[in-house]
């Protein structure tokens, strides 16, 4: 389990256990991973999140373009595993859940427990935004330059 904010951990852990999903990712609507739980293996989570957010964004936009409400859920059925993608609103903004599951469970069950996850996250989120903490030191540029030079072999 990895999570940006600790309050996400318990609801996500419960969701994965109850829905029997193999992996659940929570991400921002721009595709940045907020939390993950389950079997990751060799998955490139950043790419998975970027593509998942792209699918949700484009399918929602497609719905709006043809005059419907944005689709909230997109499901992909594969031969051995399936994906459930859905956006939801949290006190921290709009997030997306990407759930990978296999024959151990069913889409309907994932969907039912996803609704529970959304409620649990809303209840678990700290009511007030934490005060902004200092992120980078003023002299970060020296380190950035060194990092970039090393990255490009210069």
């Amino acid at each position: 389990m990895r999570a940006v904010e600790p309050w996400v951990v318990a609801p996500l852990r419960a969701f994965v256990a109850e829905s029997s999903a193999r992996l659940a990712l929570l991400m921002t609507s721009s595709g940045q991973v907020v939390a993950q739980h389950g079997f990751v293996g060799a998955l490139d989570l950043m790419s998975v999140a970027a593509l998942g957010a792209g699918i949700v964004a484009s399918s929602s936009e497609l719905a709006v373009t043809v005059g419907w409400e944005p689709f909230r859920v997109v499901a992909h059925q594969g031969k051995e595993q399936a994906h459930f993608l859905a956006w939801f609103d949290t006190p921290r903004g709009r997030w997306i859940a990407l759930v990978v599951f296999g024959s151990e469970t069913k889409l309907g069950l994932v969907r039912v427990f996803f609704e529970q996850l959304v409620e649990d996250l809303a209840a678990a989120a700290p009511p007030e935004e934490e005060p902004r903490r200092e992120v980078l030191a003023a002299d970060f540029e020296r380190e950035l330059n060194a990092s970039l030079r090393a990255l490009f072999g210069r």
Binding site: S29, D44, S147
Partner: protein, 201 residues
């Protein structure tokens, strides 16, 4: 919006390479992908048409290393440049922390550059972004082409750089200016984060 994980001390930022069709946005990412050691980058994802034109986006995550005690990652995206893909461009632009505008230096592409730059401003404004304080750098790509086909750095600055952004000459195919451009946008994005201009999730 930058994602800052205070528990694991990680920063993730989203940089979007914007510009008209065939200006060299994907080439920038391909060069970076080729230069950066495998351990410091993820897979490059390209959602392209059969003729290798970007259909949705290219995506390349790179690991900048530890800066001010934070493991810093950049997610580099490109948008499809062709005019009729504006809906897709808007989607990719969502949540961006900075933009690299890749202009085509050829004189005959000046109108395309202007149109794309205006489109960028409109799309940022549409997302409620204050373009005056938003990190943007310009790259004038294809400066390696014969002088009679291209505009100079100064000419392009006059024509495109009315907001006085940092600008860099480039030859993305051979890598000239790619590093400098990435460095330029990285500094702006992180400076903004340090100043508290970009929210931490």
């Amino acid at each position: 919006m930058s994602l800052v994980n205070f528990t694991t001390r990680e920063i993730t930022c989203k940089i979007v390479y914007y510009g008209p069709g065939r200006s060299g946005k994907t080439t920038n990412l391909q060069y970076i992908y080729g230069r950066v050691p495998e351990a410091r980058r993820g897979r490059m994802v390209s959602l392209a048409t059969q003729t290798d034109r970007t259909l949705f986006f290219d995506f390349l995550p790179i690991d900048l290393g530890v800066i001010s005690g934070f493991t810093t990652r950049f997610q580099l995206y490109t948008v499809p440049g062709q005019v009729y893909y504006n809906a897709t461009r808007k989607l990719v632009l969502q949540g961006a922390d900075g933009v690299v505008f890749v202009a085509d230096s050829q004189a005959r592409r000046l109108e395309d550059n202007l149109e794309s730059l205006q489109n960028l401003q409109a799309n940022l404004l549409g997302q409620g972004v204050d373009v005056r304080n938003f990190p943007v750098v310009l790259q004038y790509n294809k400066q390696d082409l014969p002088a009679d086909l291209i505009l100079t750095h100064a000419d392009l600055d006059d024509a495109l750089n009315f907001r006085n952004y940092r600008s860099f000459p480039g030859d993305a195919l051979r890598g000239a200016g790619v590093f400098e451009t990435l460095k330029g946008i990285s500094e702006l994005v992180l400076k903004r984060l340090a100043a508290g201009g970009a929210g931490a999730a």
